[in-house]
C-alpha cells in the first residue's frame, strides 16, 4: 500500500530526528523501557485519567483567564455593557470577571469551561478514589499512593474553593464570610487567624489577592508535584488488574502503551475536553452577573458552595441548636468545632484506612489482582457506610432547596437528616454486607453447579431437576479467584503477655472475617461435576428406555 520510496524518505526523516535527539538526551532507552509497557483495559481504570485530563483543561482554560482577570479588591464603579449593574459599586476583581464574561470573545466560554472542569475534576477524583477503595487497590505496595491521592483530592477541594471565591461576588463572598465566622470560633487563636487571613477586619482588601496566589501558583504547583509522584508510583507498581484467566499477582495483562494506549488514552483526553466544552457551551454555570459584587448586607436564598465543599456546609447545618458553652468568661463555639472535628476525623479515617486493613490482615504480600467488591464484604460495607455518611452531609447542604422544590418543611427536612446521619450509615453497612455475602454465595453456587439452563427434566423415580450448564473455565476462574481470610485469636507475645494491640487486632479480624464465604475449590467442583455426570447418565438412560 505505501510507496517504498515514500517509506524510505519518511524513515529517513524520522530516523534522522530520532538519532539527533538520542545522541543528546538518550531517549532511545526511555522508549525501549516504556514504549511497550502493558496497561490493562477496563473502563473503571479510566476515572483517574478523567481527573488528570480535567486538570489539564483547568490549566489551559485557567491560563487564558489569568490574562484577563484582575485580583484586586480596590473599589470601582461599573461602566461595562451589563445594564443591570451600570453604576454599581464593586471591586475590580468582580468588574474584570464581568468584562471577561461580556466583553472578551470566548471569555464566557473559557470561564464556563474552567468551572465545569473543576466540578468534573473533583468528581472524577472522588469516584476514582471509590473505585480504588472498593477494589482494594490501596493494598501493598500502593498504600503510599493512596495517601498521595488523598492529598490530591484535598488539594482539589482547596483549588476549587480558592477559585470560585476570586470573582468576589455575593454568593462566594458569603462563603468567605462563613469561613471567617468559623475561624473566629477557634478557641484562643480564632480572631488572630481571621485577622491573619483577611489582613485585618472582614472583608478587608487583601483576601482576593491572597486566594489568587494560592489558586494560580501554590496549589497548582503542589498538585503537579503530587501528581508526578502519583503517576511515578503507578509506573513503578504497574497498574492493577481484575482477576481473570491469565491474570495473576505476578503479571499484568493488557495492551502495549504504543500504539494502543497512546491512541486510546490520548484520544480520551480529547473526548474529556470535548465533553467539558459541550456542557460549557450549552449550560450556564455560576452566573455571577446576577449576584452582584460582594456586600455583607444582602444575601441570596439558596446560598450553597460548589458541590465538593457541600459536605462541610452540610455538617455546619446539621449541628444541633445551642451547643455553644462558656468556660468562665470564655466562649467555646462547639456549634462550629463539632462539625469541624467530625470532618477532620472523617478525612483522617479515609487517609489511614489502608494501614488499618493491612494491620488487621497481616498480609505482607504484594497485591496486583483486584478484589471484586463482593469478595471483601466488610470493606465494601465500611465503604458504603462512609459514602452514606458523606452523602447525608452533602444533602444537608441543600435542605432549603429540597424543602422548596419538594414542598416539604425545611425544619422537618433538617431533623430527618440529623437522624439519617447516624442511622443511615449503620443501615448501609448492614445491608451492604449482607448483599455482598449473598452475592458471594450465589457465585459459589454457580461455580460449583454451573448456570441454570432452564431445561427441566423428570427423572424415572419422579424427581424434577433443572439441568445446569457447567461454566466455561475462563468464566469459572473469575468467580473463584479471590483472597480468603479468616479471623485470628489474640496470641501472647514473646514475653507471654497478650497485649492490648493483639486483643484489638483479634477482635477487628473477627469483625472483618467471621462471616466469610470461601472460594469454590477444584475438589468441590470436581465432586459436583461427578454428581452431575451421574444424573446426566440417569437422564440418558431414561430417555433411551422411553423410546
Amino acid at each position: 500500500m505505501s510507496n517504498s520510496v515514500n517509506t524510505q524518505k519518511k524513515n529517513g526523516f524520522l530516523a534522522g530526528t530520532a538519532n539527533y535527539v538520542d545522541e543528546r538526551v538518550g531517549v532511545g532507552g526511555i522508549l525501549k523501557e516504556f514504549g511497550r509497557k502493558i496497561f490493562p483495559d477496563h473502563w473503571s481504570f479510566m476515572l483517574g485519567e478523567v481527573a488528570l485530563y480535567s486538570f489539564l483543561v483547568l490549566l489551559l482554560s485557567g491560563t487564558f483567564l489569568t490574562f484577563f482577570f484582575q485580583p484586586s479588591m480596590a473599589p470601582v464603579i461599573y461602566d461595562g455593557v451589563y445594564a443591570p449593574l451600570k453604576g454599581a459599586h464593586m471591586s475590580i476583581a468582580y468588574s474584570s470577571s464581568l468584562d471577561i464574561t461580556f466583553e472578551v470573545r470566548g471569555g464566557l466560554l473559557m470561564r464556563q469551561v474552567h468551572h465545569w472542569s473543576a466540578l468534573l475534576f473533583v468528581a472524577a477524583a472522588g469516584l476514582h478514589m471509590l473505585r480504588v477503595f472498593f477494589t482494594g487497590a490501596f493494598r501493598k505496595p500502593r498504600e503510599l499512593n493512596w495517601v498521595v491521592g488523598f492529598v490530591l483530592f484535598v488539594l482539589g477541594m482547596g483549588a476549587g474553593f480558592t477559585g470560585y471565591s476570586l470573582p468576589d461576588d455575593l454568593l462566594s463572598g458569603n462563603g468567605l464570610r462563613i469561613i471567617d465566622g468559623m475561624m473566629k470560633g477557634i478557641p484562643f487563636i480564632g480572631t488572630w487567624v481571621s485577622t491573619l487571613l483577611f489582613g485585618g477586619e472582614f472583608p478587608g482588601h487583601a483576601i482576593v489577592g491572597r486566594l489568587y496566589s494560592l489558586h494560580i501558583m501554590l496549589i497548582p504547583a503542589l498538585i503537579l508535584v503530587f501528581l508526578a509522584v502519583h503517576l511515578f508510583m503507578l509506573v513503578i507498581h504497574k497498574h492493577t488488574h481484575y482477576s481473570g484467566p491469565g491474570k495473576t499477582d505476578t503479571n499484568v495483562v493488557g495492551y502495549p502503551l504504543m500504539p494502543v494506549y497512546v491512541a486510546k488514552a490520548g484520544g480520551f483526553f480529547f473526548i474529556v475536553f470535548g465533553v467539558i466544552m459541550l456542557i460549557a457551551t450549552f449550560f450556564t454555570i455560576n452566573p455571577i452577573w446576577n449576584y452582584g459584587g460582594y456586600d455583607p448586607s444582602p444575601v441570596s436564598a439558596g446560598t450553597q458552595p460548589d458541590w465538593y465543599i457541600g459536605w462541610l456546609d452540610g455538617a455546619l447545618r446539621l449541628a444541633p441548636t445551642g451547643i455553644e458553652f462558656m468556660i468562665g468568661d470564655y466562649t467555646v463555639s462547639t456549634n462550629i468545632l463539632l462539625p469541624l472535628v467530625i470532618s477532620l476525623l472523617f478525612l483522617a479515617a479515609v487517609a489511614i484506612y489502608p494501614f488499618v486493613e493491612n494491620w488487621v490482615t497481616g498480609d505482607k504480600r504484594e497485591h496486583h489482582v483486584l478484589d471484586r467488591p463482593r469478595n471483601a464484604p466488610v470493606r465494601t460495607a465500611i465503604g458504603a457506610a462512609g459514602v452514606m455518611f458523606y452523602a447525608v452531609l452533602w444533602a444537608g447542604a441543600s435542605t432549603d432547596l429540597i424543602a422548596t422544590n419538594f414542598k416539604m418543611s425545611l425544619n422537618q427536612v433538617l431533623v430527618s437528616m440529623q437522624i439519617s446521619l447516624i442511622i443511615l450509615p449503620i443501615v448501609a453497612f448492614i445491608v451492604t454486607k449482607r448483599v455482598c455475602l449473598a452475592l458471594q454465595r450465589k457465585d459459589r453456587e454457580i461455580a460449583i453447579h454451573g448456570r441454570e439452563s432452564g431445561r427441566i427434566v423428570r427423572l424415572p423415580h419422579g424427581e424434577y431437576i433443572e439441568v445446569h450448564e457447567p461454566l466455561d473455565p475462563h468464566d469459572l476462574y473469575k468467580l473463584v479467584d479471590f483472597k480468603d481470610y479468616k479471623p485470628t485469636l489474640a496470641r501472647p507475645n514473646a514475653k507471654g503477655k497478650i497485649t492490648v494491640a493483639a486483643r484489638v487486632r483479634s477482635s477487628m479480624s473477627k469483625f472483618y472475617f467471621e462471616d466469610r464465604i470461601a472460594p469454590a475449590t477444584q475438589t468441590e467442583i470436581d465432586e459436583a461435576a461427578h454428581h452431575a455426570h451421574e444424573i446426566e447418565a440417569e437422564v440418558q438412560k431414561a430417555i433411551e428406555s422411553s423410546k
Binding site: 477496563h42 473502563w43 473503571s44 481504570f45 479510566m46 476515572l47 478523567v50 445594564a83 443591570p84 449593574l85 451600570k86 464566557l108 465545569w116 466540578l119 468534573l120 468528581a123 472524577a124 469516584l127 455575593l170 454568593l171 486510546k264 480520551f268 473526548i271 474529556v272 465533553v275 467539558i276 456542557i279 457551551t281 450549552f282 449550560f283 450556564t284 454555570i285 455560576n286 452566573p287 446576577n290 449576584y291 452582584g292 456586600d295 444582602p298 444575601v299 441570596s300 436564598a301 439558596g302 446560598t303 450553597q304 460548589d306 458541590w307 465538593y308 447542604a397 441543600s398 435542605t399 432549603d400 432547596l401 424543602a403 422548596t404 414542598k407 416539604m408 418543611s409 425545611l410 425544619n411
Partner: protein
C-alpha cells in the same frame, strides 16, 4: 374671660380641636405612607362586588369581611390586596397547607375589580397601583440593587424562589406580571413583609419591576439556566450529566470491538 375658661363648652371645643388635629395629622401621615386611597370606584362595582363576596368569600371572611377563625379580617386591606390574591388564583383559598398556593384564577377581570372595589369601600387601604409605575421603564441597575437588598434573601438573586420555615416558601417570580409584583410589595401577602412607600417608594418599586422584567426577558448568555438553583444543581449535572456521559464513553472505549 374667666367665664369662658370655665364654660362647659370649653371641654367640647378642646375635644373637637384635639380630634381635628389628631385626625388630620393621622390622615396626613397615612397618606405619606400609602398612595392615594380614593379610587374611582362606582357604586355598581361595589354592589356587584358585594354579591360576589357574599357567595364566595363570606363563609371564611365573615359576612361583613370582619374575619372569622378561618380567615382574617379584610377591613383595611385595600383593593391592592384583593387584586393580588384573587388575580393570582391564591384566593379563594384552599383548605390546608402552610401557605396559599397559586391556583387557576376563578374570576374574570371585571369580577375581580368589583370584589376589589367592594373591599376597598369598607375602609381605606392600599389601592391598585398607578399604571405609571407599572411600565418597567425604570432604572434597571437601581432595581437590581434594591432587589438584592430587600428581596433576594427570600426569592433568590435570580427570583427563583426560596425556603421559609415550616413548609412556607417565597415563590419563583419569573412568571409574575408588573402589577402582581407591585401589589405583593405593597400589601405583604401572608408572611411576606409589607414594603410600604416609605420603605420602597413607587419609583423604587418600578425600578425593581424593571429589573425583574429584565431577568424575565433576557435568558442567560451562558446557555440553559438549570432552573437558576445554583451550585447544587450544577453539582448534580457534573456528576450525572458529565461523569455519566464520560463513563458511558469509557465503557465503549474499553469494550472489545466487534
Amino acid at each position: 374671660m374667666n367665664g369662658l375658661r370655665r364654660s362647659p363648652m370649653a371641654f367640647g371645643i378642646v375635644l373637637f380641636a384635639g380630634l381635628l388635629v389628631v385626625g388630620t395629622g393621622y390622615t396626613a401621615v397615612q397618606a405619606a405612607v400609602s398612595p392615594s386611597t380614593s379610587a374611582t370606584r362606582s357604586q355598581e362595582q361595589v354592589d356587584l362586588g358585594k354579591k360576589i363576596f357574599l357567595s364566595n368569600c363570606a363563609s371564611c371572611h365573615g359576612k361583613n369581611a370582619e374575619g372569622t377563625l378561618n380567615a382574617p379580617s379584610l377591613i383595611g386591606v385595600g383593593e391592592a390586596s384583593v387584586d393580588f390574591q384573587v388575580s393570582t388564583g391564591r384566593m379563594p383559598g384552599a383548605a390546608s397547607g402552610p401557605q396559599l398556593e397559586v391556583k387557576p384564577v376563578q374570576f374574570t377581570e371585571e369580577q375581580i375589580s368589583a370584589l376589589a372595589a367592594y373591599v376597598g369601600s369598607l375602609a381605606d387601604g392600599p389601592s391598585i397601583p398607578d399604571a405609571a409605575y407599572l411600565q418597567a421603564n425604570g432604572d434597571v441597575s437601581k432595581g437590581g440593587e434594591l432587589f438584592r437588598i430587600n428581596c433576594a434573601m427570600c426569592h433568590n438573586a435570580l427570583g427563583a424562589g426560596g425556603a421559609l420555615t415550616q413548609g412556607k416558601y417565597a415563590p419563583n417570580l419569573m412568571g409574575s406580571s408588573e402589577k402582581t409584583i407591585y401589589e405583593a410589595m405593597l400589601t405583604g401577602p401572608q408572611n411576606m413583609p409589607v414594603f410600604n412607600d416609605a420603605n420602597i417608594t413607587p419609583q423604587d418599586k418600578n425600578d425593581i419591576i424593571t429589573y425583574l422584567k429584565y431577568l424575565q426577558n433576557n435568558r442567560s448568555v451562558g446557555g440553559d439556566e438549570l432552573g437558576n438553583l445554583g451550585p447544587v444543581v450544577e453539582g448534580l449535572v457534573a456528576w450525572l450529566g458529565m461523569l455519566g456521559l464520560i463513563i458511558a464513553i469509557t465503557i465503549w472505549l474499553g469494550a472489545k470491538s466487534n
